[in-house]
Symmetry: C2
Subunit: 196 residues, 2 copies
């Protein structure tokens, strides 16, 4: 069967998305053409709109449509604390916790040498510049507690400490609401070491 080339092209471009294989791409293309052509057009316009308008905040590096994002512009926030996160989603999680009033720096990634993501790719140079603006007194490293997140935290801490900046890391320990019996051993070991 010779599929129409416009359909082939659509499947190919969908396949390029992360987490979408050839079967999902075919299913999505079929669905859009058969049941939701309006949805396909809306998606096309959203893609064009996002590519044209979304850029990085000049201060914290997160996605924004302005020169500086609304969080960085907020006069209520404490300029002495800078929390370093991997993604805007991580930033949103910390905001929801309500436990932080300072500013953020969003790496938009993490060190991952196996994927070819090095120090230059995650805006570390920008972070160093940001952290040495004279107002920041403490950098709280809130990268993930995965191997890559820890490596990123290590790299950040080393460089910032060498420049005399106070660097802290989110506490490792037993999650709220968990029964010890079901907590993994590495977490319990860390919670014992970091007991207070």
């Amino acid at each position: 069967m010779a599929a129409p080339s416009a359909l082939d092209q659509l499947v190919d471009s969908l396949k390029r998305l992360p987490g979408i294989g050839v079967k999902s791409a075919q299913r999505i293309a079929m669905h859009l053409l058969q049941h939701d052509r309006v949805g396909a057009q809306v998606l096309a316009r959203s893609l064009e709109g996002a590519v044209a308008n979304v850029r990085h905040c000049a201060r914290c590096h997160t996605f924004t449509e302005a020169e500086v994002c609304s969080t960085c512009l907020d006069p209520q926030r404490d300029r002495r604390q800078l929390c370093v996160v991997e993604t805007p989603a991580d930033q949103a999680a910390i905001e929801r916790s309500g436990g932080f009033q300072g500013l953020y720096f969003v790496l938009m990634g993490r060190l991952s040498p196996l994927d070819g993501i090095g120090v230059r790719d995650i805006g570390l140079a920008q972070l160093f510049e940001r952290a040495t603006d004279g107002e920041v007194e403490e950098v709280i490293v809130a990268t993930g507690f995965t191997a890559e997140g820890e490596a990123t935290a290590q790299a950040i801490a080393q460089t910032l400490k060498a420049r005399g900046i106070n660097v802290t890391r989110l506490a490792r320990g037993v999650p709220v609401g968990s029964e010890l019996e079901y907590v993994d051993l590495g977490t319990i070991a860390h919670a014992l070491v970091d007991r207070r």
Copy 2:
């Protein structure tokens, strides 16, 4: 955190795709904006192109960019056999098997009353017209062997037989290459009934 609205819109349109939840939509949007803006533009153009150019073949109802698809126009194909499949992917699977030289009718769906998909939504009226063109001698129903596929096959067979058309169904039985020990009981029971 107030996310930029162009990014929100992109996540919303991605969420509308089948099989894409809010987490996947966020991951895809992040990936496109951070690492593959060219891919986002290519996808936008493919969507526009497919919506503008892909339509249904006037004879077999599959997706095509012409009035009639290349399979239906092929003079080498046997016009006396019409194979009814659910999707272009099913048609492609039968083509790859090399066991069929006739023409196809693609339902682009199957009966699924629970999802509100009835006889009118899957082009059955068009199929009845197509099957009574005077050339078709046998309609081979190759819908899936799922509950919906079987119901669809039943509906097709009833109506076409009432009009005196010869209707057959793909054989049910033990898949090639399988050990009986691991074949499910329903399949074995059917293979016993349909033994030859």
